[in-house]
Symmetry: C2
């Protein structure tokens, strides 16, 4: 059997195992009863073990490394696949097995420890584990055959093609142009007239409205569904089965609405990918950043626009006449775009959000360049919060302990969140030249927006990398100026 | 490695695959979007193939047949396991592979064909497939090394220890004592005063009431949940994860209530099995009949009792004050026990239900004794409907085509439904001597009933067979007189 056929055969088996594990993951996150988990862990050991074996066995290694040797004889998309497969294989085979297992165990323990430390606001409890997590990551990078800087390796892991050089340029632009603007809005911006957002909104009716919204946004219900979970997320096994969740907080109605629209953005991306990529290693969205660009586009550009609420505020008000009796469309629209300096990233608004990310990027960058150590984190965190947002966290839980990511060993991941919004803005200005977004939203023709995104971005799955998408669509590589322009235009209009 | 260790090792792998397939089955039945199924079928081929291989491979055969040779050296429960494993293995290995595959394909096609034939009320469309299904089953039995009659082999498949001799005795008792009683009730019974049961009852509130009921019945929500599906069913992977469904028909409120209680009966059985059996081949309820005895007990003995509605009718009425404004507790209780001669088994009431089963048993018995052929079925069906219930079906869809079972190759399965109710009655009279069921229901202490059932029946899983349970609990083997006694007592009080 030739190498490519062998590669495909093993890949198909891997996909089968991943498929069943994915379904079980969805069940775990959305409905499995609490007592079911010990049995589940035991039952999944065998299947995850089989999957792991398929990913490292000799036949597979021969196929991948063999194909990598003859890369230029393969067609473009297969080349891309083999490069990705080799990268994943390197990671599994170059790290000594005992260290790999130790690290997995450390991650498991650290996540539980982090939860406890956050709850108890106890930095000392967690910092020892964080040091170990950083050390393992520093060490693992030395095993890979690379002349890149450590943090560059991590950045590229979460966003193909990105490195410190590019991110520095991005965040320096934000620091120069956005930080002063944010300061101005916070200081001089017109305050909101009314705050109804923390009033009581019944969960059942919130659900009814979210169901209404996913039809408005033309989500294909024959190929997916919306459910509920503590932390909203999107899940998919194939374009024909894409699901997402939201959550209903009765004292913060915007949580369900904007989580639903955000996740629907991720889900629409996955639904619109050409199914043919599922027979290859190029299935699914192409990167964290591009994925986030889609969710942020739906959430912020569509979902927080005046045009959107012109059409849909009446339906919302009909469900909650009491709570909204004195709230005009303008009040409501401005409330969806409320700006404030806050401590917690996940609660931050669109305008201040990238500054939370910038802070994390700079800290990780220094950590992996050995300019600071884990011990310095709380101090550096506070200094940067004061510098960018003018506020100083009073405790660790709202500061350095707030995010789960580091406890899970995810370093280099945060910047993709801000990058996503910046990609979205760059796409947005091209899109505006080709279709009239405001008018399509106002006339309830989101279908045409979905169509544009499918044609330009979604259909390609992972067969184009982020830079290829940017260049093909906007005619230039990543350029942060669009993001700053978008934010300043939007929030000047709203606040100044 | 010794044979038992090898057997356990392979069994554990089989359990792992069954586990993941079970979870996916639950997803398929309760929420997967329609478009997901082609991909699902493709992805599951590999895993089901691996599971099949584990069930027939040489190592496993050596372990099972080897252990079977030395059966008397093993402890009792292991003996029982090995006998079950051998029986299953015989079935997989003695049928030639090509015939096995042909039969599986035939079953798949026949189920779809049956659906269409039923919808079109077209017997001729389906009967050819039914003939083939019967022929395959007749032929397969000849491959097993047995001197039993064909139908006895099938009966024992679905209910260990049962055969025509025992079922004949059972159904002859019903024919002699129950048929005349049913005729009398249908002719002379006091009619119901009001029929509110087909009025409109909002689905959301039905759900609220069903959620209330599962707490009343003390279902352990940390180890399970209730969901919705077109056909109610119970599902489990382990006592720590047992789920069931009901359905909400807005024009037949009893459907959701009694399906929920019925399935909860199955589910409580599974939840209360000792977890230790899950490390063996003796996990899960011991037989179809015993399982049905539990669901029928909860549904009919508890759920349709006057005591039950004395306590819970007020809560129900509070949800539906308009629909129930003229309905007294007595009206309501009698309505839950409405008796009528009807064509369709799944809609039949508790009293007439066993006559529907008797008809099917007699037909299957004649079919597998070659006394009739498939061509005769519609005629025989009509004759027996007239004889037992005094009504003659006007079309096939409400007659011989009504059930899915035969299209799925399930012959010998139906009688377990009636047997379940009969087992339940036999347990009931013993139970009444030990605990005061009426009083426990009236004082809302279902917990104590669950406890009795756990101690006497549930905890044992499949480690005792039906006859052992009956003898250990009631002091005698299966005796149909209790069932007739129970029905005549109950319905005399209600109707005569």
């Amino acid at each position: 059997m030739d190498l490519l056929a062998k590669f495909r055969e093993i890949q198909e088996k891997q996909k089968s195992y991943q498929y069943v594990l994915n379904i079980i993951g969805w069940d775990s996150a959305t409905e499995a009863p609490g007592a079911a988990f010990p049995r589940r862990a035991k039952m999944l050991q065998f299947v995850t073990g089989e999957l792991f074996k398929l990913g490292v066995n000799e036949e597979y290694q021969q196929a991948v490394y063999g194909l990598f040797e003859q890369l230029d004889t393969l067609e473009d998309s297969v080349q891309r696949e083999i490069k990705k497969a080799k990268k994943a294989l390197d990671k599994l085979t170059k790290i000594p097995e005992n260290e790999f297992v130790e690290y997995q165990t450390l991650v498991g323990l650290s996540q539980r420890l982090w939860e406890e430390a956050k709850e108890k606001n106890d930095w000392d409890m967690f910092k020892g584990n964080l040091e170990k997590l950083v050390d393992y990551n520093r060490k693992f990078i030395t095993y890979f055959d690379t002349d890149k800087e450590a943090y560059d390796v991590l950045l590229d892991d979460y966003e193909e093609g990105m490195d410190m050089f590019k991110y520095d340029k991005f965040f320096n632009t934000l620091k120069k142009d956005l930080v002063p603007f944010v300061r101005k809005v916070l200081k001089e911006g017109k305050p909101l007239d009314k705050d109804f957002t923390l009033d009581f909104f019944e969960a059942n009716k919130q659900k009814e409205f979210c169901e209404y919204l996913i039809d408005v946004l033309d989500f294909d219900r024959t190929k997916g569904l919306m459910k509920e979970s503590v932390h909203p997320f999107t899940w998919n096994t194939h374009p024909s089965d894409v699901r997402f969740t939201t959550r209903y907080l009765e004292n913060f109605v915007f949580s369900s609405i904007f989580a639903a629209i955000h996740e629907l953005g991720h889900a629409t991306y996955e639904q619109q990918i050409d199914e043919k990529w599922n027979e290859t290693g190029l299935s699914g969205g192409t990167s964290m950043g591009i994925h986030e660009s889609q969710s942020r586009f739906y959430e912020n550009v569509i979902g927080r626009s005046r045009e959107f609420w012109e059409v849909h505020y009446p339906a919302f008000k009909e469900l909650f006449p009491e709570q909204l009796k004195d709230v005009t469309l303008d009040d409501f629209h401005r409330a969806t775009n409320k700006v404030e300096a806050s401590f917690v990233r996940v609660e931050a608004d669109e305008l201040t959000y990238p500054l939370h990310i910038m802070l994390r990027y700079e800290i990780e960058r220094m950590l992996f360049s050995n300019e600071i150590e884990v011990d310095d984190l709380p101090r550096v965190w506070s200094e940067k919060m004061v510098e960018y947002l003018g506020i100083e966290p009073k405790d660790y839980a709202d500061g350095v302990l707030q995010d789960v990511h580091w406890s899970a060993g995810l370093f280099g991941y945060f910047p993709t969140y801000a990058l996503g919004s910046a990609y979205a803005a760059q796409f947005y200005y091209t899109m505006m030249k080709e279709i009239d977004i405001d008018e399509l939203v106002r006339t309830n023709k989101i279908k045409d927006i979905n169509k544009w995104l499918k044609e330009k971005i979604h259909q390609f799955g992972s067969s184009k990398n982020p830079e290829e998408l940017l260049v093909d669509i906007t005619g230039e590589k990543f350029n942060p100026k669009y993001y700053v322009k978008y934010l300043i235009e939007k929030y000047t209009k709203l606040y100044l």
